[in-house]
Symmetry: C2
Subunit: 197 residues, 2 copies
């Protein structure tokens, strides 16, 4: 039984209906576009943080701008996304996998999990969004279940945990990855909200 | 009359006492170290966002890492700092000026002010921290006063506005820029909190 934000239970056919293939955007672009929509409609203010880059060398190419000639990508110190929604601090990491039976925890850095745990201790909302690409299913999973799986010694989160504890993120055309519907459902006990989607 | 978080009024002598000169760190480093302290002590989770950089060209220098050979600094789309404190979403921009009589608004990008305004509409806390370097005074000023000054058509925020509407940010050795004390004072009506400082 897959939990949809509107309380509906998915059948095999309904599940296949949510697969929108090949829109020419990657998962991060899709989330960013969804955030743009949320921002424009005053639903939420959630942004992707820039990728941390260590600048090693620069030269002045002209008077107005400065050109970086040597730099390296760095590991992010926190998660990719944070912001505010319904007055609450929201923080999450979004990942995708081609795996069909589980989500390998190696996809998330340990200190990102520690960060999400700290967020919940401060009264914020922390979760991951996982796109099971081949299954065509996107889930929101609260940080507490990731910690539970880690404590049990597993190296990956079984797909069943997403089915049992996660919330399906609706996919659409206006809001491509409408994860705030899943946030509404899991954290605010609100189903089928009208104001976005 | 300068408002200190503990309700004290500054005399000329007290004011001079808060000037800690030449610690070999810049303002951003000092705020980052203060945030590290807050994080370590579970006071708050507030991070500086990485500087956005547009990568134009890369080459593989070796198997394990990839070297960026051409890149440019970009304008940030939001403010530099955000996070969570006392269950509330916190968002701010930190700037310094050598000006003694006012803070020029040209130091802050228009869309950063729009961003801070959106944050408060969502129920978050949005402000700027301004370091008047020569005066040795650091102030927290709520976004509403920046908007008021802008509406009045001024190109800078007079120092008097900081004195009247802002809160002095205490400077110390354990927490170099203890701006959460000013947050406590302005947003939570808490004075002289014990748990940090």
């Amino acid at each position: 039984m897959i939990k949809y934000p509107n309380g509906k239970v998915a059948t095999k056919t309904a599940k296949q209906n949510i697969i929108y293939k090949n829109r020419g955007l990657n998962f991060e672009d899709e989330i960013n576009l969804s955030n743009d929509y949320y921002l424009k409609e005053d639903v939420a203010v959630i942004h992707k943080k820039p990728t941390p880059i260590k600048v090693v060398a620069m030269k002045s190419s002209d008077v107005r701008r400065c050109c970086i000639t040597e730099a390296y990508f760095q590991q992010p110190s926190t998660t990719d996304y944070n912001g505010i929604y319904r007055g609450k601090y929201i923080d999450f990491e979004a990942k995708e996998t081609t795996n069909k039976t589980s989500f390998p925890l190696s996809n998330i850095l340990d200190h990102q999990i520690v960060h999400l745990e700290k967020i919940t201790k401060q009264g914020g909302i922390g979760f991951i969004i996982v796109n099971f690409k081949i299954l065509g299913e996107i889930y929101l999973l609260d940080i507490q279940y990731i910690l539970e799986v880690m404590k049990s010694g597993r190296a990956s989160i079984p797909h069943d945990v997403f089915i049992e504890k996660g919330i399906i993120v609706p996919q659409g055309y206006v809001i491509i990855i409408d994860y705030l519907k899943a946030v509404d459902s899991y954290y605010f006990n609100i189903e089928g909200v009208k104001n976005h989607g």
